[in-house]
Amino acid sequence: MLSVHAVRQLRDFVLDITFSVRCGETLVLVGENGAGKSTVLNLISGILTPDGGEITLAGRTLFSGEKLIDVPAETRNIGHLFQSYALFPHMTVFENVAFGLRCRKVPRQEIADTVAEQLRAMNLSDLSGVNVGRLSGGQRQRVALARALVLEPELLLLDEPLAAVDMRAQAAMRRELRDRIRNAGIPCIIVTHTPRDALELGDRLCLIEEGRVAADGTPEEVLGMQENGFIASFAGPRVSERPYTPPPITGHSQGPPDSRPL
């Protein structure tokens, strides 16, 4: 169980969100570019620090403005997949997946066995020794997921998990991703720009507008709110007054430019 209340001053508005995600539940975050979706993920995984609020995961306080608790990102044990996957370009597939285990000082032989098993489960065994620069979008996504899941995280954060996967492979990848999340049995938050992701991956859907939770419910409920301009353009065929522009296929964080500390 993850519960989040986080406040942070962004460039144009104050991000102030409250929500919780149960074990085995998948929450999908939607909203316009710059609404603060990726920032929410960064605040939870510890890459950014909230100005205030409280974040608890499985009974452990990760951040508390009142109690002055701020667990560093490296000890939060949260799997965070970035939109561009951020695979380490100077390492092979194996080394990428082994990275977290090496940081945890796991014995060498155990790393080799665990990583091999994870790669097998992800159908990546053939690519073990390949440099990540030579992988396709779908393969990169699987390596990034393997790299996170091999550490048995207590929470999974996925930022546009299918954005860099080519269109034809997306449906299959989406099904595969859904199964992996189900099997992991942990809370999961997905940021997406595609209604299909929201409907097929999400148990619940939050609409974020200017740093606030504007709607929270089942995907069907929230996507049914056609009176909302964003939802209308996001889900429905009806033409909206607020045109929605899809994000570029490649690129990094969707957060506003000031969402990273210098």
Binding site: I47, A73, E74, N77, F88, H90, G100, C103, R260
Partner: protein, 269 residues
């Protein structure tokens, strides 16, 4: 080349000619002096003078001190460059300006400044000398002078290389459980590697060529402080062959440095 005698075309040929001449003159100006070194000495004389104690001492001392000073610059400069590339703190601009200072400071000024700091009567030197650690006019002074003048070449390059790395990789490494030290050692430094190596090579080259600050602060004692540039200056007044031989060695090293930097930077693009 000139197919139609249009107005623009008419001027193109003389312009091309002019540029070619300018380029040729400039290249000649750079290469002629270097080539003259090789023309003034026979290969036999060159190899014979390499056995000359003055030449040999200078060669060994130069390579040793430049290596030591490069190691010092890398050890101190890498963390400094990393912090300045990644952390925003009060006074960072001042630190940046100070680290760049030796580039614009005339070597003679660096020499006298080092002497005022570490000389026998210097601000720090008087205490060092009192505790039996003389610095000025020793090999240590040679190294200090080289570190002083060569450090900006490495630090600037290192900082630029660190800044060019997408922070996303570091963020990802942290969420995977890497401590800040592990992030630096396993992600940031490996990704910046080619830039760091070329910076270190440039710094080594600058240290090897250091003359002004060394002669003022370390003196000119054969075997102890007489590096190759100092030996060239000294032998030139008597044994020109030895001076030219040393110069040729430095030319060869300079070419090797340029080639090394190009190979290192090209491989990782």
């Amino acid at each position: 080349m000139l197919r139609h005698a249009g107005r623009a075309r008419f001027w193109r040929a003389p312009l091309t000619l002019l540029l070619t001449v300018l380029l040729a003159l400039f290249l000649l100006f750079v290469t002629l002096p270097v080539a003259s070194l090789f023309l003034r000495i026979s290969p036999e004389a060159f190899f014979r003078s390499l056995a000359d104690p003055v030449v040999l001492d200078a060669l060994v001392l130069s390579l040793a001190t430049a290596t030591v000073s490069t190691v010092i610059v890398v050890l101190f400069g890498t963390p400094l460059a990393l912090v300045n590339a990644r952390c925003d703190y009060r006074g960072r601009e001042i630190v940046d300006t100070l680290t760049d200072l030796p580039i614009v400071l005339p070597p003679a000024v660096a020499g006298i400044a080092l002497l005022m700091a570490f000389g026998r009567r210097g601000v720090v030197g008087q205490y060092l000398d009192g505790s039996g650690i003389p610095v000025a006019f020793t090999t240590v002074a040679v190294i200090l002078a080289q570190v002083f003048v060569a450090s900006p070449f490495y630090i600037r390059q290192a900082r630029a290389s660190f800044e060019a790395i997408d922070r996303l990789y570091e963020d990802a490494a942290r969420t995977l459980g890497a401590s800040p030290t592990t992030v630096a050692l396993r992600i940031t430094i490996p990704l910046a590697w080619s830039g760091l190596v070329s910076g270190a090579i440039l710094s080594f080259a600058r240290a090897l060529g250091e003359f002004g600050a060394t002669i003022m602060f370390a003196g000119n004692f054969q075997g102890r402080t007489q590096t190759m540039p100092l030996a060239i200056y000294t032998t030139m007044q008597g044994d020109l062959t030895a001076a030219i031989s040393l110069a040729i060695v430095l030319v060869v090293i300079s070419f090797a440095v340029i080639a090394a930097v190009q190979i290192v930077t090209r491989r990782n693009i």
